[in-house]
Symmetry: D2
Subunit: 177 residues, 4 copies
């Protein structure tokens, strides 16, 4: 049996999307990307800034409501179904609830061969990259840097603080079975 | 039973994405968008310009290969699973194969309450909008305007040639059960 | 002497950018685009949401402050200098102050051969297109539809309410000398 | 007299845009960004892929033609005029011709207080970042990494190979007079 799903968890500006693109480029088989950002983009505009949906505060805080959670649960089922239908998928998520965010993924992906990867980035460096990107509310990177990893179990952790995305991707690729 | 999936089929620059955003804005319940363009964006860059994946020729032609078809089939299963898990979804696709493209959607969505919608746009107007967008290969709109509808069965057809996306969205919304 | 600058003035979602791309595509000589949106993108992020810079209210209102005005004046001089250096330029602006916004352009472009074009769009249609785009604060289109034209003098007016951008572009192109 | 223009020169994927955003964020006064990428975006689509304009080859090579050069010269005059009109400007360019690219900037900015900055990035790292971005032709970063700096004179050089954009921006900011 070979790895069917790679789940990347890391804070905002930790470098997840870059690692996804490098994995897609490095791995010999085609892997689909399933990013929480793309899921958020598929929501109605009204849910992208409301109590029922998701709100990005000016201080970098993120709050999600009941409608968001319901659709997010359906999205996880959709990702799992893609894998069961034969697609290899790289999930790129932010576990705002730590283990409480990992648990529903565990259930949705039950029976599949999953590689759980923590993507760490030192808070100061993540914050600096947030300024350099210029498209994220200031403070989100620092707020999430540690929080999203607390209590989460991984098969592998990579750290982008002093490593390029491509090197992290190669470390992950070497662990696929 | 109420409508669970809306499938929009139409050629490039026929106005599908605008209708999706208007539907998301007009409908009281939250609907997720599942666009073929977002699926293509989730592919590895290498598949986005290769014989095995999808190729956009300079004359507006589009060719898809075996790897693309395999992942596309998994994507359809993923969309169906999201609906079965409780999400309302608006699919936005281009049936390059006409009925041969509709059939796999029929199978994937079997048992669900689907509204099939044809989005038409006169070839000359679609071509003019393609120039105004400036981000699509010239010729794609004209090449697909008629082709994608041949032999496809709809519950409803809208025409954006002389109507705004919002009006078309309201026509569709009025047909939901 | 031939036309050296085309200045398009119109409200948000009136279709200016589409007309610019169509003009660039239709006109035999290369014309540069100089859009107020691109100018705003070139500002520091802090000025894009502050009293000193520009603020987009949730109701579609737009307020500009002293720092914004100072840099905007420099931008106009930059555009004029490009024209004097031999480039043909299409300006795409929103005269929030009506004649008070046209006047500084008149001064900056003094001595150059300018075609002043009003881009109108009925308020209801502009509002519908704003929903279909989904990337502008709701209300901006309606708020600006009439306001930006009051007291402004044009060589030519086009109306996108019932016409494609490409047709409007051709009408403009026919007036170039 | 204080610094009026900062000119950053560096190869593709060397990190120039990130440094620009960090400078805009760190510097107390508002600075406008004038990027060669934004200039290219303001060209007609036809010039963005033609012998007369600019061509990006699949191997990462870039060729510019006579129409491109003519408009680029006008753009430089426009940037200089913005500075003379009182705006502080950060130019972000790629000196494909080395000293032959610096010379016309020297002439355009004559009499202004300019800080010339070289932005270096080791070829291997720039290439890795190119893969992680995923929106540039592969090979461009490596092709330009050394070439654009040969024979160019700087007031200051920064190296993003092992430093964050924000740190490089602070080094530059410390040199402003």
């Amino acid at each position: 049996m070979t790895t069917q799903v790679i789940v990347l968890n890391g804070g905002s500006s930790s470098g997840k999307s870059g690692i996804v693109r490098c994995l897609q480029s490095e791995l010999p088989d085609p892997w689909l990307a399933a990013a929480i950002d793309a899921f958020v983009d598929s929501l109605p505009a009204s849910l992208r800034a409301s109590d029922a949906g998701i709100e990005f505060a000016e201080d970098g805080g993120v709050a999600v409501g009941p409608e968001f959670r319901k659709l997010e649960a359906a999205w996880r089922e959709g990702v799992a179904a893609m894998v069961r239908a034969g697609a290899r998928v790289i999930v790129d998520d932010v576990f705002l609830g730590g283990p409480a965010s990992q648990e529903p993924w565990r259930k949705a992906l039950a029976g599949l061969d999953v590689l759980w990867v923590g993507v760490r980035c030192g808070s100061t460096v993540a914050e600096a990259r947030e300024v350099a990107r210029g498209d994220r509310p200031k403070g989100m990177a620092a707020a999430q840097a540690e929080m999203v990893h607390r209590g989460v179990a991984y098969d592998l952790e990579v750290d982008t603080t002093n490593a390029e995305s491509l090197d992290c991707a190669r470390t992950i690729a070497a662990r696929l079975t």
